[in-house]
C-alpha cells in the first residue's frame, strides 16, 4: 500500500533515509514506531512510504483515512553514499526493498551514472516499482522465485552477468537480509563495491535503545554491534558480518568472555 503524507516540515530526503511512524493512536497499546524506507518526498511538502499490512501496526495504518493525522519522524538514518564519478551502478531490490530505489536511480543518473536494475520477488504480485524504475534506468531485469514474471530464480542468479556486462563498479541493495548477504558476496566476487540497506527490528529509530544492532567491521578493523538506525541502515556490504547477524561474534568489541554476560 502507498501512504502519501502531507508533511510541511519534512527536510530534504536522500535515498536510504527512513521514516518512523507511530501506530495505534494516542494512548493505544503499541508503543513503538514502525520504520519504513522513504519512497518519495518533496521537501516542505510531502512524504510517501510503501507498506504491506502484515502486523497489527501496519494493519492499523491501513485503516487510516485521508485527512487523518499520523505522527512521523523523518528523515532518519544514513542514506546511500553516491559516487563522485559518473560510474556504472547496479540497483538490486527484493519486494518492497525497491521502495527507495526510484529516488536512488534519479540521484545516480543526476550524477551521470549508468544505472542497471535487478528487481526480484517470490512471485509477480510481490514485485514493486518495475515500471517506475524502467523510466529512470538503463535496463531492468526482473526475477521471480516461481517464474511468474521475468527470469525464474533469484536476483543473485543474474547479478554477476549484469555487473560483468556493464562493467559496474557499485551495487546498491535493499531487501531481506539473506538477499543482501548474497548480493554482497556476488558484488565482491565480481569486483564491485556494495552498499546494503539492512532490515533489523527497531524500537526507537533514533539511536537510544540499542535494539537494532548487527555486527559490522569498522574502519579500524574492529567488529562492533552497530545500530542500524543511526550507523545505518545503509552499510558497506563487505563490512557486515552476514553469517554472524543475530549473534555476537566472539571477537566483537566488548563480546562476552567465557561464561557469557
Amino acid at each position: 500500500m502507498h501512504l502519501v503524507l502531507d508533511a510541511p516540515e519534512i527536510d530534504e530526503v536522500a535515498s536510504g533515509h527512513f521514516a518512523a511512524v507511530a501506530v495505534g493512536g494516542i494512548g493505544g497499546g503499541m508503543l513503538l514506531r514502525r520504520a519504513f524506507s522513504i519512497h518519495k518526498s518533496t521537501p516542505g511538502e510531502s512524504l510517501e512510504i510503501i507498506f504491506a499490512p502484515h502486523g497489527q501496526g501496519t494493519q492499523w495504518l491501513a485503516t487510516q483515512n485521508a485527512g487523518d493525522v499520523i505522527d512521523v519522524i523523518a528523515p532518519l538514518g544514513k542514506p546511500f553514499v553516491l559516487p563522485r564519478q559518473p560510474i556504472s551502478c547496479v540497483i538490486v531490490a527484493g519486494g518492497y526493498g525497491a521502495a527507495p530505489m526510484e529516488l536512488l536511480a534519479r540521484e545516480l543518473r543526476g550524477r551521470g551514472c549508468r544505472v542497471d536494475v535487478v528487481l526480484g520477488a517470490a512471485t509477480q504480485e510481490k514485485l514493486f516499482g518495475v515500471l517506475d524504475l524502467k523510466g529512470v534506468s538503463d535496463s531492468v531485469i526482473v526475477t521471480t522465485d516461481d517464474g511468474t514474471s521475468g527470469v525464474r530464480g533469484r536476483v543473485t542468479d543474474v547479478l554477476a552477468d549484469v555487473i560483468t556486462k556493464n562493467n559496474s563498479q557499485a551495487v546498491y541493495a535493499c531487501g531481506p537480509m539473506p538477499m543482501l548477504q548474497a548480493v554482497a558476496k556476488v558484488s565482491q566476487d565480481n569486483g564491485a563495491f556494495s552498499q546494503c540497506a539492512v532490515e533489523e527490528s527497531m524500537a526507537c529509530g533514533i539511536g537510544v535503545c540499542m535494539t537494532c544492532v548487527l555486527p559490522v567491521i569498522g574502519d579500524d578493523g574492529v567488529t562492533r554491534m552497530s545500530r542500524s538506525c543511526v550507523d545505518g541502515p545503509v552499510f558497506r556490504g563487505d563490512r557486515v558480518r552476514w553469517d554472524d547477524v543475530h549473534t555476537v561474534p566472539s571477537d566483537a568489541f566488548g563480546a562476552p568472555r567465557p561464561g557469557g554476560h
Partner: protein, 308 residues
C-alpha cells in the same frame, strides 16, 4: 502557568521534575535533536560498566501489549570512553547528569564509583543493582537484601562527592520494602524504582523464546501500576527517603500518580522510544495537571496519596 515544578533528590536540586530513564536515552546526545537536554531534570545515563560490552544477541526486543520486552544486555563503551565522550558532551551542554553504573561484581561497582567520584560533571549516581539482562540471577543484586547492601556499602565507602547515591530497585522481589530498608542502612541517599520485570515472549511459529537472550525486561505502561504500588509501599515505610519514580509513565497524569505515591521526581523511559520529546511534554503536562487541581507546587503533592 505559575506552578513550581522544581524538586530535589537528596542534595541534588532539579530545575524540572522529569528525567530520562537509564537505558532509554543513551547518554542524552541523541535526544538533543528533539529538545534542549539541559532543561530536563537530569539525564540518567545508560548503565556504564568498567569494560566495553557488546550486549546480547538479537532479537533484543519484542513489543507486548502496552509495553515491550528488551534484552539489550548492557551494551556500552566502557567507563573510559564514557568519560571521554559521553560525560564530556553532557558537561559541555550543561546537562544535569546522573550516571548509572552496573558491575559484574561488588568490586566493579566500587571501582566505577571511585572513578566517578573524582570527575567533574557527575551530579548523582544511580547504582543499577537490578538489571535483569545478566547471565546469572545472582548478579541481580537487588533481589537479595544482603547483596544489595553489600554493593551500596562498597560504593558509599569510596564515594567522596556530595552528589546523591541512588539504588535502582527491582520489583521482582517478595518484599521491596525490605530491600529498600537494607540499602538505606547501607547508606543510599535515595532509591530509583522500578527497574523492568523479568518476562518472556514465545515465538510459536518457531517454538522458541522470541528474544536472543530468551528472557527480557518488561517495561512500558503495562508495568505502571506495579511501579506505583512499589513506590507507595516504600514511601509508607520510609517517608523521608527520596524516591525517583519510573515505570511506564506516558503522560503528566501518569507522572502525577507517581508523585502522589511518594516520588519526588520521575524518569521517562520506554515512552521515549515512540515519542522522543516525551520528557519535555510530560513536564508540561504535569504542570497543567497540578494547576487544574489547584496546587501551586509539585513538592506539596509528594506522597499526598498517603494522607487521604
Amino acid at each position: 502557568m505559575n506552578i513550581d515544578l522544581t524538586t530535589s533528590l537528596g542534595s541534588l536540586q532539579l530545575s524540572a521534575p522529569t528525567l530520562t530513564a537509564s537505558g532509554c536515552a543513551a547518554a542524552g546526545k541523541e535526544l538533543a535533536q528533539f529538545g534542549d537536554v539541559s532543561t530536563l531534570g537530569a539525564v540518567v545515563t545508560k548503565s556504564i560498566m568498567m569494560a566495553p560490552r557488546s550486549g546480547r544477541a538479537t532479537p533484543r526486543m519484542a513489543e507486548t501489549p502496552s509495553g515491550m520486552l528488551n534484552s539489550i544486555g548492557l551494551q556500552g563503551p566502557g567507563i573510559e570512553s564514557f568519560l571521554e565522550n559521553d560525560l564530556a558532551w553532557l558537561r559541555a551542554n550543561n546537562v544535569t547528569t546522573i550516571v548509572s553504573i552496573a558491575g559484574n561484581n561488588v568490586d566493579e561497582f566500587g571501582e566505577l564509583a571511585r572513578i566517578l567520584s573524582k570527575v567533574e560533571g557527575v551530579d548523582g549516581l544511580e547504582v543499577n543493582i537490578s538489571c535483569p539482562n545478566v547471565e546469572s540471577r545472582g548478579q541481580v543484586f537487588a533481589c537479595n537484601p544482603y547483596s544489595a547492601a553489600q554493593v551500596i556499602e562498597t560504593v558509599r565507602s569510596v564515594w567522596h562527592s556530595d552528589a546523591p547515591v541512588l539504588a535502582k530497585l527491582s520489583p521482582d522481589v517478595t518484599d521491596i520494602v525490605e530491600i529498600a530498608q537494607s540499602v538505606v542502612e547501607a547508606g543510599v541517599d535515595g532509591v530509583s524504582m522500578i527497574n523492568t520485570l523479568l518476562g518472556m515472549v514465545i515465538d510459536v511459529d518457531h517454538m522458541k523464546p522470541m528474544l536472543g537472550g530468551r528472557t527480557g525486561g518488561l517495561s512500558g505502561p503495562a508495568i505502571r501500576p506495579v511501579a506505583v504500588r512499589a513506590i507507595y509501599q516504600v514511601h509508607a515505610a520510609l517517608p523521608h527517603l527520596p524516591i525517583l519514580g519510573m515505570g511506564g509513565i506516558r503522560t503528566g497524569h501518569d507522572a502525577l500518580e507517581f508523585i502522589a505515591a511518594g516520588a519526588s521526581a520521575v524518569s521517562i523511559g520506554t515512552v521515549v522510544f515512540g515519542d522522543p520529546g516525551a520528557p519535555w511534554r510530560i513536564a508540561n503536562e504535569l504542570g497543567q495537571e497540578l494547576e487544574s487541581r489547584g496546587y501551586n507546587s509539585l513538592s506539596e503533592v509528594v506522597g499526598l496519596a498517603h494522607h487521604n
